[in-house]
Symmetry: C3
Amino acid sequence: MEVLFYWADQAGVAVFAVAGTLLAFRKHMDGFGVIVLASATAIGGGTIRDLILGLPVFWTEDQTYIYTILGSALVTIIWLRYKAYIPMTTLQVADAIGLAFFATMGAEKALSAGFSPFIAVIMGTISACFGGMIRDVLARDVPMVLKSELYATTCIVGAIVYTLLVPFYPIVALVAGMLSTLIIRLGAIRYQWSLPVFRDNPEHY
Amino acid sequence: MEVLFYWADQAGVAVFAVAGTLLAFRKHMDGFGVIVLASATAIGGGTIRDLILGLPVFWTEDQTYIYTILGSALVTIIWLRYKAYIPMTTLQVADAIGLAFFATMGAEKALSAGFSPFIAVIMGTISACFGGMIRDVLARDVPMVLKSELYATTCIVGAIVYTLLVPFYPIVALVAGMLSTLIIRLGAIRYQWSLPVFRDNPEHY
Amino acid sequence: MEVLFYWADQAGVAVFAVAGTLLAFRKHMDGFGVIVLASATAIGGGTIRDLILGLPVFWTEDQTYIYTILGSALVTIIWLRYKAYIPMTTLQVADAIGLAFFATMGAEKALSAGFSPFIAVIMGTISACFGGMIRDVLARDVPMVLKSELYATTCIVGAIVYTLLVPFYPIVALVAGMLSTLIIRLGAIRYQWSLPVFRDNPEHY
């Protein structure tokens, strides 16, 4: 399990680094604007999680995470030089895969540090959503977590599914947690699912 | 005293959660945009305070704070569905009450952890102002702390009043600290009090 | 060395506090908007560095840093009242000097806490760049770190030069690290040096 969790975590970092690089491309940033956005997306959420839990920040103890970010950003940059156009959905799909990895892995990290299932769900959500939130604030976009359909909701659902199943079937929990996040988020992007709470009130904006 | 401080802290969380929900309403956010803004406002400042002081983050140890946020947000949402219009000042007044609670409670937390009165005043200000600052950055508003009349000033005054009085009269310190923040802030909203430092220079914006 | 490092650190805080105050002036902020922007610029990066490294946050243990910020902001305000116009480059130059101090001092702090040279370079960059990034996000400017020529790059270069030389010649390392950051950054401002990675793609903005 340990090894599987480790690579799921690295995969999440890689996918979020790609998402950050794609946004930097859309915003015409220079070389290190790319690194800042890729890193903020990939390790921002996990850094905040570790700080709040009082754990050592994960990438200060294992530099492989940084190499993963740099490698992913480089591959994405090379790919973008040969491909003139990227549709908006590429960024959203990369982001959705990253959410799926981090919602489950963030919950796992809190559980294995001895925190309650309730805190684990919150930490899964923070790990998954806060990196993209920092990225969007830096790039001066409206944060996806605030404007997009079911964004944070999908992380909460994935983290809950994982937290409920992991005491019994760890591997099933990982797969089911990730799939539930991924399917709901992709469905929300494709079919505009949403969870309205307020009546329309455009006149009070 | 302990019990009184605890409930003052919970009351501050509740009022700030209401303020975050009101802003989410004005910005037409979906269900979990509401939770993100309500939580950022209610526990963002205290989280940064605890991280800087090196203390365990308060809401990871006592989940009641999270329930308070969810409950306050829910009540506010229900209320908003029956009331078509909220004036801007409702948000500002809720925010002012939250400032009053957190300016004193943030200073108290630093003092009881053994930090100096000077650091206590800074921590009262951070607890009170940073939650709303994160909220406004996420919602892409100009942060109230930067544009509004006497915003941070009121927290500094409340934290100073509290810190000076608490060694002698704890309850008087709490009431006087909160009232000084609240009265100055409400006066600033109502009568446009301000503390100018620069000559008008509109041409250099 | 200890004493030299301490004063280099204080000088970096002073210069960044001036940069924050200048931006607050351009944005017509009130008195405590000035303090918030000056403080965020001056100690924001170092605070994030200390949190991530798990060290006590530097200014909670030595209040001289806070006095330096308040003094620098006050001197800048007085100066601005007698001088109607400040060119944009004044802000950029103050910022560049701050970058030079913090890129080297941030790397030093990580090295002396026993972290690897690779982490030291990242921490030099975070110390130098993140304060200004927070300042720009709060003031709703596009962060210089993302839009400006060679901004983060200069910090990375300065931190690498320092980290490579410090085991052999500490004072040379300090001077060479600072000068390499300063010269590259000022050159980038003056001659528009940049490091393009993407083809021009204005049509996909």
